[in-house]
Amino acid sequence: MSNAIEIQGLRKEYHGFTLEDVSFRVPQGYIMGLIGPNGAGKTTVIKLIMNLIRRQAGEIKVFGLDNLRYEPEVKARIGFVYDTPRYPEDLRLKEIAAAIAPFYEGWDRSRFTALMEEFELPFKATFKKLSHGMRMKFSLAVALSHNADLILMDEPTAGLDPNFRFELIEKLRSIIQNEKKSVLFSSHITTDLERIADYITFIHRGRIVFSAAKDELLETWGVVKSAGDGIRPADIPGFRGYRRTDYNLEALTSDIATARRNLGPAAVYDKATLEDIMFFISKGTGHD
């Protein structure tokens, strides 16, 4: 299987934050979700892929090409959506599109027009008049109009209403009907990714916790719940984080089957959602 993105040993240091030893792949033809709490390093990773900030170590290959050496070639094939789209405030959408189009060899004017209509965006409006949701939609329309092979999005669903989030997810699904296209999508709204992603990469405090197929995660991870204090977290196979109240213990495990086998009727066993996984891991290595 070839990879749309291959990241190896990435490092970036800011004051008070270090992205360290970040490695993962986005296989071609699939949707990868990048999850993690706010400040985990999601945006930093995406900015490094786009070469908007300088990396201190590591390597990034997009379509097998080094993203620094082949920057123009690589960028021409990426449709990029920022978390807060920025375009000249006083220009009309029509004028912005006309200014962008020449930069892309694959610019598809009729597709752009169709998307503008579908998203109900007025060609004549100036950028500053648009709401956050409309700015997002406009940015998405641009990203989807030059036949990009990789769609790269940083928190595209933040601040959008559920209807449009759903629409966006449908759009991404229809893009990967073509098995040459890939998507990398960062979000802290895990339900969106639970619905759409094929793979999940979880980043926490600047490091990768895991990068795996979503189905596999949701089938093997789970939450062990036990009343009272009969079970100690350390006794739980695959233990990854817990929460204790006066009444019970809830613990995340990466191996719910073994936990069930070993602990038997002393606990109940639930499937873990991506939200559970994010919550317990962030908490487990954090405030305890």
Partner: protein, 125 residues
């Protein structure tokens, strides 16, 4: 083809899909050489991961229910009559195994279980 996917079911989604497609092949709703939707199309329609539908089709292929032809897609495989009957028996056998395991776990005797089965079978006649 009819498929329902439940997120609250304890069974993995790929298993839910294979089970339903198998049942439709066994009861004749899906016939030999009928085309199946592509892996990507099915994933889009059911709003699930491509990996899930791929795995479901791989399982079906392994068990001889469907054939996949490179570049053409997947089709319901030729079904050997005898094999089909065997598969039907296997379906019932699996359910019964489950019932037996549950009965043993709950301390229900063989005699009690047999009685239950007799009653249930006659009731449905």
């Amino acid at each position: 083809m009819k498929i329902i996917v439940s997120n609250s079911s304890p069974d993995p989604i790929y298993e839910q899909i294979t089970r339903q497609i198998k049942a439709q092949i066994i009861n004749g709703e899906l016939r030999e050489a009928n085309p199946l939707p592509s892996i990507r199309k099915l994933a889009q329609d059911l709003q699930i991961s491509v990996i899930t539908t791929k795995r479901a089709y791989e399982e079906l292929e392994k068990e001889g229910f469907i054939d996949t032809v490179e570049g053409k897609g997947s089709f319901v495989a030729m079904q050997n009559k005898e094999l089909l009957r065997e598969k039907k028996m296997k379906l019932v056998e699996d359910k019964m195994t489950e019932a037996v395991e549950q009965a043993k776990f709950l301390g229900i005797s063989f005699a009690e279980l047999r009685e239950m089965l007799t009653l249930l079978y006659k009731e449905k006649d």
